[in-house]
């Protein structure tokens, strides 16, 4: 168990998260993939704190803050999911595009202001 192996593990986890975030079509699936990426970052922080000389508690402290922020983020995100589902009855990411410029209405409409 060395720093390198911990980092490799975290990288792999992060890449899996990226793949999930890009390919899941479900809003909840997307959030779950983001959780994976956050955890990969936390493993990195703990690994650096363990293996590097210098400030030993910094890594754990930073990871604690990450966990706190992730908890806030998920509370807000899940309430948005619930609100969205109430309005649209749909959580397909490809269909939630009301903030996007209309492109399929007519060819070339995407360039209009």
């Amino acid at each position: 168990m060395t720093l390198e192996r911990c980092l490799l593990l975290a990288f792999a986890l992060f890449a899996i998260g990226v793949y999930g975030a890009l390919t899941r079509r479900h809003l909840v699936g997307l959030l779950i993939s983001i959780e994976l990426m956050l955890n990969a970052a936390n493993i990195n922080l703990a690994a650096f704190a363990h293996f590097r000389p210098g400030d030993a508690t910094g890594g754990a402290t930073f990871a604690l803050f990450t966990i706190a922020v992730a908890a806030c983020e998920m509370a807000a995100a899940l309430s948005i999911v619930v609100a969205m589902y109430r309005r649209r009855r749909n959580l397909d990411l490809d269909k939630l595009r009301s903030l996007r410029e209309p492109i399929e209405a007519e060819p070339g409409a995407g360039k209009a202001p």
Binding site: T2, V18, R25, L36, N39, H50, F65, S79, A83
Partner: protein, 170 residues
């Protein structure tokens, strides 16, 4: 020896669970595999001598965040409709993007580890993961971020209540 067996075991578990999180179609199964992955991560924290972090990780992630996830999925009854799938092209693109990211990060690691390999050997032990040490650091050096994060929590609390309330006329 013992720790490296544990490390590989936990890594395999983490890897498999993470893949199943991404690949299973039912959101509930995804969420439950994510819980499994969190346990493996907590095990890694213990191996990295951060017991407090491991306990907090299990309490917050497995005990609170994932329960909220399951709550949402169960209440909205999302398990009924199986998730619509992207086309193969998008999946391939995702695979390439994720793979490229992995390659870039591993490449960066290979380059940097050659330069700094000498000071990577130090391993902290003893009191680092203990609550007292962490508490002292948290309430002395990181007092302002700590207080700010409590304000963030308050904002998230209020935001969740506002968003979760039924709107008039609904």
């Amino acid at each position: 020896m013992m720790s490296s067996i544990l490390f590989y075991g936990l890594s395999t578990l983490l890897f498999a669970a993470a893949l199943l999180v991404i690949l299973s179609r039912n959101p509930i199964h995804s969420a439950l595999w994510l819980v499994t992955a969190f346990f493996a991560v907590a095990g890694h924290y213990v191996l990295l001598n951060a017991q407090f972090l491991a306990a907090v990780h299990v309490i917050v992630y497995a005990g609170a965040i994932m329960v909220l996830f399951l709550f949402t999925i169960m209440l909205l009854n999302l398990n009924k409709e199986t998730e619509p799938q992207h086309s193969l092209l998008v999946k391939l693109a995702g695979l390439v993007a994720g793979g490229m990211l992995l390659v870039v990060m591993v490449g960066a690691l290979r380059r940097s580890s050659a330069e700094t390999a000498s000071d990577l050997a130090t391993v902290h032990s003893g009191t680092v993961g203990l609550v007292e040490t962490l508490g002292k650091v948290l309430f002395r050096d990181f007092l302002l971020p700590f207080e700010l994060s409590s304000i963030l929590f308050l904002a998230a609390l209020v935001g969740a209540v506002v968003l979760g309330k039924k709107e008039l006329g609904e």
